[in-house]
């Protein structure tokens, strides 16, 4: 079968469509109901979203905005009330998609009576990995997350940062194509945060797709290519981080080598002077400012449609 696939790449591609869209949600909605079926919360309202191969995509939003619900729907931990969540072109309830996914939950929900090696061995077995591959992978990952010195200690003896790191290792045990990270830097010290962000960027360099949600806007701004901002279950903003942060109605000019006289005159007619123009662009805001303005705007005018940009 393998040789046949090599001989006939077209057939292979047809069998497994190599789409650039890794995650797609169509009109995805989730309503939480009580025991009697009465509506309690409308957690997600008609979310349309695409995450493309090889990008780092950030989900942002205040508490209760629906970002964790979105992740849970994508992972099949919750079932949508309406709409569809597709991962690798498969329905989110299809467990076979999980073979290509790694998931780091908000808190590393791991078995505290296992040690690091046993933890990774257990999750490796869940991927039906042969023992030799598993052993090699465990050694590599423990080294990657710098836990060689504590690999035989039970997780209940781990600090929060160590637990996050072993959690990340379990998310990577299957060398996944898509990594879903829920608050990846929570509980990490500044060095740990930096290492985690480097690792996320490194994963992208290796062609992986990363979907992350975080409250730490600076982290998102540092690593994400694109972001979606959710508020009260609605998509409020979606686009490239650099594009979203650009202030379009302001021009920023940075120059050097000008005389004091020129500096005086530059405010009037900069283009006619012989200074060395270094850049002329729109200034950027911080993600924090953008986030706060969207949330305030959303609260002032509920139901505003998202400004979608590529």
């Amino acid at each position: 079968m393998a040789s046949q696939a090599v001989l006939d790449p077209a057939a292979s591609a047809a069998a497994q469509p190599q789409t650039d869209v890794i995650i797609e949600t169509r009109n995805l909605s989730k309503v939480y109901r009580d025991f009697w079926g009465r509506q309690k919360v409308r957690a997600l309202k008609a979310l349309d979203l695409e995450v493309r191969r090889g990008e780092i995509f950030g989900l942002l939003g205040p508490n209760g905005s629906g970002k964790t619900t979105t992740i849970k729907l994508l992972l099949g931990l919750l079932f949508p009330t309406s709409g569809q969540a597709l991962v690798f072109g498969k329905d989110a309830s299809d467990v076979t998609k999980n073979e290509r996914i790694g998931y780091l939950p908000e808190e590393s929900y791991l078995y505290r009576f296992l040690n690091a090696e046993e933890t990774l061995d257990f999750y490796g077995r869940l991927f039906d990995m042969p023992a030799s591959v598993r052993r090699q992978r465990i050694a590599d990952l423990i080294h990657l997350v710098k836990l060689d010195w504590a690999k035989r200690r039970q997780l209940k003896e781990y600090s929060k940062g160590m637990t996050r790191r072993i959690g990340l290792a379990q998310a990577l045990i299957n060398d996944p194509e898509l990594i879903v990270l829920d608050e990846p830097t929570t509980g990490l010290d500044p060095i740990g945060c930096r290492e985690m962000k480097d690792l996320i960027i490194d994963l992208r360099e290796k062609g992986k797709t990363v979907l992350m949600c975080s409250h730490l806007l600076a982290d998102v701004q540092d690593v994400c290519d694109r972001i979606a901002i959710l508020h009260q279950g609605e998509l409020k903003e979606l686009g490239r981080v650099d594009s979203l942060l650009k202030i379009r109605d302001v021009t920023e000019i940075r120059a050097s080598g000008l005389s004091d006289a020129a500096k005086e005159e530059i405010k009037a007619v900069i283009a006619r002077h012989s200074g060395n123009l270094v850049s002329m662009d729109n200034p950027t805001s911080t993600l924090e400012e953008l986030f706060l303005s969207i949330v305030q705007d959303s609260e002032a005018r509920p139901g505003r449609r998202a400004r979608v940009e590529g």
Partner: protein
């Protein structure tokens, strides 16, 4: 031994048991009914929320998904999850159950009296019952709390986001906890066996002063050797007859005997009594078919009911033509080269006290089923109640000076034999059920029988574990435990539920019985007709439907227990063990599938 459930041979039970269609077909029909009923209920409820078309689509997709899950279940993942369940059990101090068991055994040594008439039965039934309760309790706790606790502390997130199917999650838990139970059961079994053997072991003192030359036999014929009584130990002593070398066996007492040897040193003879022999038994009986003759000599299915609520035994009237006839099949001279031992445990019902010191007399008559008009009186006997009376049928015996050859004259060509028991005393009754008289085929191996008894406990443990896991797929821990306890209680009282559902129970259904308790009216008295009683009786009629469904759907756990076989010293037939294993499997499969479905339909992140 009381055997209320009498099973036919395994294959006959499975596919065709006389007039009924056989267990497998009944199972198939029940499963079909349950599946169709379940689908209908699921569709109705889904339709209310999603509309009929979408409900149908959802159910179809769930079923297709279930088939996919079942066919793609990976043994490696199941093993990984089972291994985790074992590690989790050890972390949850499951070995404490074993320590509790050891403590119970230690206390049992204080409180159980080895001086009872049958200490082996007492000790065996104690250890087997204690093991059953402990292991079922452990299975209950482990299986009900594991999955809910994983869901509550969200560790389940890291499992279901891997390519793990609901079948593997449920099966992994069930297999893991069953493995833990198996290990514990093996340990308990080992300790129990040594506890019983060591506790029952004893010897007696015997000195030369306890012995005297044997009394002369009939006609004043001198008999060699010595006889006397052993010392009194554990509430019994044995009578012994020794040959001229001082060797012999004690007479049985408390269902065992000892070997006696003598050694002479410096002119002094010392007697040594060996350990108790034949204390643990595994008798292999050959049961017959029981029919009766009434007082006029006509054949009936049952004898007389002397007023017992428990209709297990039938009675025959003494001094009349009433008789109980057991027909045995498959006899051959090769299998019984030294004649046939016939064991009986008959009950006596006296209509007048008479001489209470003297037992009631009966007769044993043998008959060739091919020639029923000729019967041979084997002997008369005095009924020993509450103990096994062993009567030997020799290969040759005399009936009214006529020499009778057992296998030539009495056993038919196709190996059948009728044994007829009659009661000789007017106005007194003998009571019997089919298992109360059997032909002793051989002695089985007690420890093998002990293991079989533990296999029966193991089957119950696996069933309870699976039920616990199934309930825990959609209920939280304490509620899942309650549901499992409910299953256990219902399972042990399936017979009673059935009697309620078929209106056979005295005192009516639940509501009528409650009314009787409140108004302090007895079970048999006619209730006065008023609004309350009429409503209660009608409500009971409606309640019979769910009770009937429950009785049919719950496993009959009491019938799975083979403690009585082991404790009473009877071999557990392989047919019985196979039937119990198949019955358990018949429940395991649908319960596991239900567990898969419930877990598949559950949003674990809610």
């Amino acid at each position: 031994m009381v055997l209320e459930n009498q099973y036919p041979p395994y294959l006959e039970w499975l596919f065709s048991a006389g007039v009924s269609p056989g267990a497998f077909w009944i199972w198939l029909i029940t499963m079909t009914g349950v599946i169709l009923g379940g689908l209908l209920i699921a569709w109705v409820f889904s339709s209310i929320r999603y509309g009929p078309m979408k409900a149908g689509d959802l159910i179809f997709r769930t079923l297709v998904g279930l088939v996919g899950d079942l066919t793609h279940t990976s043994p490696r993942r199941v093993f990984a999850l089972a291994r985790l369940a074992v590690q989790e059990s050890i972390r949850r101090r499951v070995l404490a159950a074993f320590i509790v068991f050891i403590v119970i055994l230690l206390f049992a040594g204080w409180f159980l009296n080895p001086g009872t008439t049958d200490p082996a039965e007492l000790y065996l039934s104690f250890v087997l019952t204690a093991t059953t309760y402990l292991i079922l309790f452990m299975a209950l706790v482990l299986s009900s709390f594991s999955l809910p606790s994983d869901i509550q502390n969200k560790t389940i997130y890291t499992i279901v986001t891997k390519p793990v199917r609901p079948t593997e999650v449920v099966l992994g838990r069930a297999v893991g906890f069953s493995a833990v139970g198996t290990g514990l059961l093996a340990l308990m079994g080992l300790f129990s066996y040594f506890f019983v053997v060591r506790t029952l072991d004893h010897t007696h003192e015997l000195t030369a002063d306890d012995l005297a030359p044997r009394a002369a036999g009939p006609g004043g014929v001198a008999r060699p050797g010595l006889e006397g009584d052993t010392g009194f130990t554990r509430n019994h002593r044995h009578h012994i007859v020794l040959d001229e070398n001082g060797h012999g066996y004690t007479e049985p007492s408390q269902d065992h005997f000892h070997e006696v040897t003598a050694t002479t040193r410096d002119g002094q003879t010392e007697y040594r009594i060996g350990p108790a022999l034949n204390q643990l038994k595994a008798r292999v009986p050959l049961y017959g078919k029981l029919s009766f003759l009434d007082r006029g000599g006509r054949t009936t299915d049952k004898g007389i009911n002397v007023g017992n609520e428990w209709g297990y035994r039938s009675y025959i009237e003494g001094g009349s033509q009433a008789a109980a006839i057991w027909r045995f099949s498959g006899l051959s001279a090769a299998e019984f080269p030294e004649g046939i031992n016939l064991d009986m445990t008959l009950r006596v019902f006296r209509t007048f006290k008479g001489d209470v010191e003297k037992g009631i007399s009966g007769s044993i008559t043998l008959r060739n089923p091919q020639n029923p008009k000729v019967s041979y009186l084997l002997r008369n006997f005095v009924c020993k109640e509450f103990s096994i009376d062993r009567q030997n049928i020799p290969l040759k015996f005399k009936d009214k000076d006529k020499e009778v050859d057992l296998f030539r004259d009495v056993v038919s060509d196709d190996g059948q034999l009728d044994v007829i028991i009659g009661c000789l005393e007017r106005a007194q009754f003998f009571g019997m059920a089919r298992p109360d008289l059997y032909l002793f085929k051989r002695e089985g191996t007690p420890w093998v029988n002990f293991v079989k008894g533990y296999v029966a406990i193991w089957l119950q443990m696996v069933l309870i574990t699976t039920f616990g896991v199934m309930w825990s797929t959609f209920l939280n821990g304490p509620i899942a435990m309650l549901a499992t306890v409910g299953t256990m209680v219902g399972g042990y009282f399936v017979g009673f539920l059935e009697s309620l559902a078929t209106n056979q129970a005295f005192g009516g259904g639940p509501l009528e019985a409650t009314y009787r308790i409140v108004t302090q009216s007895n079970l048999m008295s006619e209730l006065e007709k008023n609004v309350t009683t009429i409503t209660a009786i009608w409500a009971d009629k409606l309640l019979r439907i769910p009770l009937w469904i429950m009785a049919k759907l719950l496993p009959d756990l009491s019938s799975l227990s083979d403690v009585d076989y082991v404790a009473d010293g009877y071999n557990i037939p392989l047919d019985v063990l196979s039937i119990h294993a198949t019955m358990s499997l018949g429940f395991l499969v649908p319960v596991l599938i239900l567990g898969f479905l419930f877990f598949k339909m559950r949003e674990v992140a809610r």
